[in-house]
Amino acid sequence: MVDADGAETSPVEQSAEITDSLVDAAKEAFGDDLWERRLAELFAFFRRRITGAYEVDDFGFDVELTERFLLTALRPLAENWFRIDVRGAGNIPSVGGALVVSNHSGTVPIDGLMTALVVHDHANRFLRMLGADLIFRLPFIGELARKGGATLASTEDTEEMLSAGELVGVWPEGYKGIGKPFSERYQLQRFGRGGFVSAALRTGVPIVPCSVVGAEEIFPLVGNIPSLARLLKVPYIPVTPFFPWLGVLGMVPLPSKWLIEFGKPLRTDSYPAESADDSTLVGNVTDQVRETIQQTLHSLLLRRGGVFS
């Protein structure tokens, strides 16, 4: 081995130099005091990943991957790009099953991811998202969704999760909400048939209304290509002022200012479990939740002022 001065260096010295720079890098990344423990943790983490010695739950939720990678990757987007203000995080029950019901918007379901991150960071719980089967049909996206704690929006899975004491997130507007034109922003669409209310009634868990302001402006949807959408078997092909005209650049979400508010939980345990089949009651509760979210959206919009402020 020959170094820059032409002097011989032993492999031992050389490897020591390499580790020196490694240690310096570790100190830089983790801080002076903690680096040793953090580094050991990181090693253990990689060993678990490589040897498959980690755990996933029955739905495919990988806690370790979610906390270490998925949420970490989303955090800068939430904090620096959308500058999310969170209100009413105390309304999220700290233990036990509960159903977070939110409005849906933004052409792609970033609002769901942001809500999950906010719930984790402000209420210290994982939001188990319910998604359409389209998500689970897509390569990579479906895989990440399951690992991030999502499952199929079906009665069976919802009730299973709620009775296991999970915090479940649902977006009852579905495609109608997320794919609505920009001109209809902040107008809640129909809340399906109230299946989420039935599930909450059957399991007796509270419903937490959640209102998200800001996601409507990230990809302003001005058009759709229905023929191509049918061909690709997706609900719509979005056309925004920037997509598909600018290609990949058009996929960058606009930096709108976000506000997320969690409302007072609506208790369902006062109703008997059979009331889940009472369509009048289910309809009434659905309307009540929808009305709460719509009103909160209006008041949040007034509070926000400018779209990018």
Binding site: S15, A16, T19, D20, L22, V23, L39, A40, F43, A44, R47, R49, I50, T51, G52, A53, Y54, E55, V56, D57, D58, F59, G60, D133, L134, F136, R137, L138, P139, F140, G142, E143, R146, K147, T151, L152, S154, E156, D157, E160
Partner: protein, 344 residues
């Protein structure tokens, strides 16, 4: 007088092991094992009858020995020879029909236990996370052993309607796994490089073969009618399972996987049929609440435990674990050395 048990499918390793197991039970007087091929190992006290269950001779066997318990294992063929697969499935379906017809004639038969498979649920992106026994598949298995199992289950239900006095127990097993198991799934997992479906990491559930034997044994004596999923608790994802085996895996587009499967001889052994590819894409989980609560059976192994028991037979896995741990130790030592060096 003790029980007289007839076991089909003893020509396979699993069937033979079950026949020997139940023959040891004190409440069982006599065990008759039936298959078209002689058993690979000595069956001990089991009385072997070489017969094709597609022929009426089976009815005579049942009548002559006054069989009261029939355990039908000749379903969901896990054949080793790729070419005979289709005809084996035919044997299974037609054989099951004939066996059920023979049971229907025999007044002595009081209970029927049928080994089926969780494949009857199919695999699709619209599946619930865990199938309960009363849920129907979102996408019917249109071919392969899943379809054969669906057909056999149909005949079993028909039999249960015609003979309401017989206690019929149908067990839907998750993929069997264990050091002694050799199925298309184990052959797939033990490929030198495991090709997976690009962009998907399916959830898999396993049942240890010893648990499967115990579940059948339990059902044969418990007299609990109904249909039950049998599987170890929890799930593993495919990537996780392959990593536990210490093997590399590589993502392949689903269409290419089918083509590769028929071109490469090693892959042909692993039987990458359309059914298997959709299973390797979307995976499957089953709910085992009924197994615990109603059937009253508790498996010894969870899914990860069963899988690790299987992985232990593979030398690569043990080496792999040691190697990764060794690497971690080396790096840690290096850093410790560097710190001492740095202080100087």
């Amino acid at each position: 007088m003790g029980r007289v048990v007839l076991v089909t499918g003893v020509g396979r390793d699993f069937g033979g092991r079950f026949a020997r197991l139940i023959a040891k039970d004190p409440v069982v007087d006599r065990v008759i094992g039936v298959d078209v091929v002689p058993p690979p190992a000595d069956l001990g006290e089991v009385h072997f009858v070489r017969a094709d269950i597609r022929h009426q001779v089976i009815g005579k066997v049942i009548a002559d020995d006054e069989v009261d318990t029939v355990v039908h294992l000749g379903v969901a063929a896990t054949t080793s020879s790729a070419g005979r697969r289709a005809s084996m499935r035919e044997v299974d379906v037609v054989g099951s029909m004939q066996l059920l017809a023979a049971c229907q004639q025999a007044a002595s038969v009081a209970r029927l236990i049928v080994k089926s498979s969780a494949r009857v649920y199919g695999s699709s992106p619209s599946d619930p996370a865990k199938f309960r026994e009363d849920m129907s598949p979102r996408r019917m298995p249109s071919s392969g052993s899943g379809k054969a199992s669906v057909e056999v289950e149909g005949y079993v239900r028909g039999f249960a309607r015609r003979r309401p006095d017989v206690c019929v127990t149908l067990l839907r097993f998750a993929n069997l796994i264990g050091p002694q198991v050799n199925t298309m799934m184990t052959r797939y997992l033990e490929l030198p490089i495991v090709p997976t479906v690009l962009g998907f990491d399916p959830r898999l559930q396993f049942c240890h073969d010893e648990d499967a034997l115990d579940a059948l044994h339990h059902s044969a004596l418990a007299d609990v009618p109904g249909c039950f999923n049998v599987a170890g608790a929890h799930v593993l994802t495919l990537a996780q399972a392959v990593r536990r085996l210490g093997r590399p895996h590589i993502g392949v587009p689903p269409l290419a996987l089918g083509t590769l499967g028929s071109l490469i001889p090693q892959l042909r052994q692993a039987d990458l049929s359309a059914e298997q590819i959709s299973f390797l894409t979307h995976g499957r989980g089953v709910d085992t609440t009924a197994m615990r609560r109603i059937l009253g059976f508790e498996p010894k192994f969870t899914t990860p435990e069963a899988f690790d028991d299987f992985a232990a037979r593979s030398p690569a896995a043990a080496m792999h674990l040691e190697r990764v741990a060794e690497l971690e130790r080396q790096v840690a030592t290096l850093i410790a050395k560097a710190r001492i060096y740095g202080r100087r």
